[in-house]
Every structure is written in C-alpha cells, then in structure tokens.
C-alpha cells in the first residue's frame, strides 16, 4: 500500500473513531439531561406535597424570596389539654401512639373542611383556612372543622377507653385577620406558612378555653363572618397579653342540623 493511501486510511479511521466517540458522548449527555429533567419533575411533584403547586412553580422560577404576600385568613390553634400529665403517665411508645391518633383525627377533620395544617408545635397544631386560595367561607369552614374535631374526639376517646388509656381533651381557638403568607424560615430551612398577630391571638384564645371551661372559642372577627345557624354563647371579655383591649370571645355550642348532607327520602322532586 502506498503512503498516501495509508495516510488517507488512517485519517478516515481516526475521523470515524472521533465521530463515534462524539456520538457516544452525545448519547451520554442526552441521557443525563433526560435523567435530570425527570429528576426535576419528581422533585416538583414531591414539593407539591409541601406547598401549593403555584408556590412550587414560583420557587423554581423566581427563587424563595418571591413567595410572600399579605392575606386575610382564619387561623385555628388546637392544643391537647393535660398533655404534661399524660406524658408522665404513659410510656413513650404508647404516648406517641395516642399523639399520632390525635394528630390524624385533627388533620382529617381539617382537610375535610378545606383547611391546611400549618405546623405541629409539640401537642399543638396550627391550622389555616383561606391562606392558600381565596375562600369567602373560611370562617364557616374553620368552625365546621372544629366541630368535626370535637365529634371525632368522642369516638377516639371511646377507643382509648376500651384499651384502658386515659381520655384526651382539646382546646381550640379561632381568629380571623391579616397575615404574611410565604416561604418563611432560615436560609437552610423554610416552610410555606403564615405569620403575624392573627396567629398569636388564635393561640391566646385557645388558652382561654381553660379559663372559660369550654373547648372551642372564637373571636368577634370570626363571629361577624359566621353563618347564623351556628349556636354560640358569648363569654366575658378577658385581658390578653399583647392586646390593649380585653378580648371578647364566643364558645361554639354546635351547628343546627346540616340537612343538606342528610339523605332525606322523598325530596328528589323539590328541586
């Protein structure tokens, strides 16, 4: 074989080798990009469990600082009455079981009435209504959720008693007002939540349930928006830390029968 042919052959083989190597690299790059895109998709789906979809999208596109807005919402604070005494009487596993059952029944009742569990604070739970999407019925929803918690607790206590465990009681405080909704926290750890004095007052009102001897208390700002079919009992105004005027609250006695949810025979032709 003459020299030019040999050179040509070597060049062709080298070019083919280079081309094949580049194709191989391209395939690897493409696979990595697709894998990253799939990973991103999974990440977005996972994040959607922690915050509303719109928030997740803005988080990815504009960063965490972009997610903050003022909203009027209803805050509900629930707390387990006598937790300290309970924790001294039960072994850790049993205590965790009782707590988890309580958290679950509160979460179920809240979700059923379009609320969102914000944060678990020890044995307390912070809950929002109308903080994520507009909700003109947020006060009614909050009180319905509180009544559902009361009802579920009766069943839960019966279950606890059957297994020889002590009963659980709760206090619920509900207040409506403005707050800042957004991704709040340190640089390392943030969560989608709402902050502001509305939450503080809901927590203080919850503490008043002990003083007034009732389980569900709400403030005047909630009562103003509330369906008159709820039965309320006014409580005396009580001074509360951090609030200039004594706070007027109302105990929730119950709701008149929710006929709409009942199966009533023979009413089909009324509509």
């Amino acid at each position: 074989m003459s020299y030019p042919y040999a050179l040509f052959l070597v060049v062709m083989v080298a070019a083919a080798g280079l081309f094949a190597w580049q194709q191989h690299r391209l395939r690897i790059m493409r696979a990595r990009i697709e894998s990253s895109a799939a990973e991103l998709q999974r990440l977005q789906q996972s994040c959607a469990l922690l915050a509303p979809a719109g928030v997740v999208e803005r988080l990815f596109s504009d960063g965490p600082e972009s997610i903050a807005e003022h909203k009027v919402f209803t805050a509900m604070f629930t707390d387990m009455v006598g937790y300290t005494a309970l924790s001294g009487r039960l072994d850790p596993q049993t205590l965790a079981g009782v707590l988890n059952g309580y958290f679950q029944l509160v979460s179920d009742s809240v979700v059923e009435h379009r609320g969102r569990v914000g944060t678990f604070l020890g044995d307390g739970i912070l809950i929002f209504f109308g903080a994520l999407e507009p909700n003109p019925w947020q006060c009614n929803d909050a009180v319905h959720a509180a009544l559902a918690i009361r009802e579920s607790l009766v069943r839960y206590n019966a279950e606890l008693e059957r297994t020889g465990l002590p009963r659980v009681a709760i206090g619920v405080g509900i207040h409506r007002g403005p707050g800042l909704a957004g991704l709040i926290g340190s640089r390392d750890r943030r969560e989608y939540t709402v902050v502001g004095p509305t939450l503080n007052l809901a927590a203080r009102v919850q503490a008043l349930t002990r003083e007034h001897g009732c389980d569900i208390l709400l403030t005047e700002s909630v009562r103003e928006q509330l369906d008159p079919r709820f039965e309320l009992a006014p409580m005396r105004a009580v001074p509360v830390k951090g609030i200039a005027e004594p706070v007027v609250t109302y105990a929730v006695l119950g709701a008149r029968e929710e006929k709409a949810r009942m199966k009533i025979a023979g009413t089909r032709d009324q509509v």
Binding site: E34, A37, A38, L40, Q41, Q44, P52, A53, G54, E57, F60, S61, L132, E133, P134, N135, P136, W137, N140, D227, P228, R229, K259, A260, R261, M262, K263, I264, T267, R268, Q270, V271
Partner: protein
C-alpha cells in the same frame, strides 16, 4: 410507558352509560357526531350536545393552531389531575405519530418549562387560568402579546383553557373510567392501524370560519359572549347557555345560585355582575342573594338545593378522589338526570367564570 397521572386516585364510575338510539341519532343529526361517551350524559339532553359542540377541534378555532391546543389540553388536564382527559389527549398525540419517547420528552419539557417562547407563554397562561389562585388579571395577558399572540388568538387560547377545564370536570366528577384510554395507545391493533387512526383523528379536526351571532346575546355572560363576536365560539357558547337555562331538570334558581357560588368562590366580580340579573329574575333580591351566598344556605332553601350549593363550591378546587366522594353523596340526594345536570352546570360555571375573568374588557 404509562401516563404520569396513573398514580391519581380515581373512584368507580358514578354514572351508568345508558344507550338511547333515538337520542343519539337526534344528536348525530344536530351536531354531526355521537361518540360513545355521551351515553353517560343522555339523561340531561343539553350536556351531551354542549360537549360535542364545545369540542375544540370542531370548527371553533380560527387563529390558534392545533399543536398549541394539544399542548394546552395536556397542561390543563394535568393541572386538574383529570386522568380521563389526559389519557385521551395523550392517546390522540400517540395516534397522530408522536412516539412514546417524544411524548415523554414533551412531558418533561412541560414540567421543566423548556419550551420555545410562544409555547412557554401559552403554557404559563393556561396554568394560571386553570389554577385561578388568584384569578388571572389583565397583566397576565401581556406575556402572550409580547410573544406575538393576537387579541383574537388570546381569546381563543382562553376559551381552549376554559373548554378543557369543562371536559375535565364532566369527566373527573363522575369518575368516567380512564383505563381503556390509558392503555389504548399501546394495544397491538392501535399500533398496527395507527396510520388509519391518524387519518381519522386528522379528519375530525376542522378549523372554524368567522361567524356572527344570529341575534345579540342576552342574559348572564352576554357581556363575555360579545367579545367572541365574529368567532364561531360565540354562537356555540350562547346556545349552550340558552339550553342550560331552558332545561327543566333543575330549577333555574338552583342553577343561577350554583353559578353565583362558583363566581364568588373564585372571587370573580365580573361573573357575579353577570349572574346578578339571573338571580333577580328568579325573585331573589340582592340582599336575599347575598345572605344565601354568604353562608351557602338559607331558610327558603330545601335540602337538595343546599347540597347543590355546597357541591358547586367544592368543584372550584379539588382533588379527584375527594370531589368524586362528594359527588357520590350528592348522587344519593338527586335523581340521575338531576345529578348529571348538576355536573354539567358546575363544569360550565367553573369554565365560564374563569373565562370571564380572563377576558375582562367591558363592551
């Protein structure tokens, strides 16, 4: 490869298909087709007719191209977690020649936002309008104008989003079974006869011609309908609304209140204004209406009507399995025809209120 919505919990179907040869033949004469799925809705005549006429590939679009429409159908159905509509759109794209690999790439690009600017703007707008948390505002239309959408194309885009949201709700609320659509694209006979099916699907897709209203629309949403003057969308929406109000299955008052609840829940003042006259026509003073809407009930309302309002409210934002459970409860209270009409009313009300907010210009 499976649809990415396969993990969405889905109840057993709440409706029984009820074949009715006469009704189907009448629909075929009137609208030109009578697909099998309308058998779920035949007990409420205006709904299957509306569903066929509101098919977005059925001579309604003059400006928007079908690839954009397909993209919007995927995005909106995914946002609404409608397994049924997502599977139907996915299947249509596969039949039209999109390989599973390309389908997956498209789904990944939709998730990551790596689309060309015009498609990306359309997708962002579709997501905003579907979520409506909060409602779309005039400034949300600016990015569409910036990438070259004309005013007429923007109106068609908003209509497409509303229309797909309508189909999502009439499929999701009664839990129409999505399984057959989800598997169809991978069946051997679909693969074998794909060119034939592709030709059929393309044959169903027709562009519309500019059309005027036979008579000026009146009543609720007339302001919005007038924005579709010259488009084939306007007369179809107008006749759908006429049929809905004329249907005797649920009372006009119940239907007007359901619209008002959805408008209020979304915070759409324009829709509330449009529906106020309908409430007054039913003998409800503004004070009465406000009292009922503020608490979704009142002493003058029966149990069924109260349940309808609560149900309407639940359809604004939902998880499929939750709304299907609530729909099951409602079905126990109503006759089959009333239940189907309730589904149709909430689906149309959700779509029109969102559309009204997206097209705020007063005429």
């Amino acid at each position: 490869m499976a649809s990415p919505l396969l993990d969405v919990s889905w109840d057993q179907c709440l409706l029984e298909p009820a074949p009715d040869r006469l009704a189907e033949a009448a629909l075929r004469r009137e609208t030109g087709s009578a697909p099998g799925w309308i058998r779920y809705f035949l007990s409420c005549p205006w709904l299957p007719k509306a569903a066929i006429r509101l098919g977005i590939d059925n001579k309604l679009l003059v400006h928007l191209d079908f690839p954009t429409v397909d993209l919007i159908a995927l995005v909106v159905s995914r946002e609404n977690a409608c397994r049924y509509c997502y599977a139907v759109t996915r299947m249509a794209l596969r039949v039209l020649g999109m390989s599973e690999e390309r389908m997956q790439q498209l789904e990944q690009r939709l998730a990551s936002g790596e689309l060309e600017p015009k498609a990306a703007a359309a997708v962002r707008f579709a997501r905003r309008m579907t979520r409506s948390t909060p409602l779309v505002a005039p400034e949300d239309l600016e990015p569409l104008r910036a990438v070259g959408f004309s005013e007429a194309a923007i109106r068609e885009l908003a209509f497409c989003v509303a229309c797909i949201a309508f189909f999502n709700r009439i499929s999701t609320i009664p839990a129409l079974p999505p399984q057959s659509w989800e598997q169809l694209a991978d069946r051997w006979f679909t693969r074998l006869f794909r060119p034939v099916f592709a030709r059929m699907v393309r044959g169903w897709r027709h562009r519309g011609q500019p059309t005027s209203f036979a008579q000026r629309p009146e009543g609720p949403f007339a302001e919005m309908l007038l924005q579709f003057e010259g488009s084939p969308i306007g007369p179809v929406l107008a006749s759908t609304l006429e049929d809905l109000w004329a249907s005797p299955i649920l009372s006009r008052r119940s239907k007007a209140l359901m619209f008002a609840v959805i408008g209020r829940g979304l915070g759409c003042r324009s829709s509330n204004k449009e529906i106020a006259s309908a409430l007054q026509a039913e003998g409800l003073t503004p004070d009465d209406a406000e009292r009922i809407l503020a608490h979704l009930g009142g002493p003058e309302m029966g149990a069924d009507e109260t349940a309808l309002l609560a149900f309407a409210r639940d359809t604004i934002w939902y998880e499929p399995i939750q709304i299907q459970r609530r729909a099951r409860e409602l079905r126990e209270l109503l006759s089959p025809a009333q239940f189907v009409e309730a589904v149709g009313v909430v689906a149309l009300a959700n779509s029109l209120c969102r559309l009204r907010a997206a097209l705020p210009r007063e005429t």
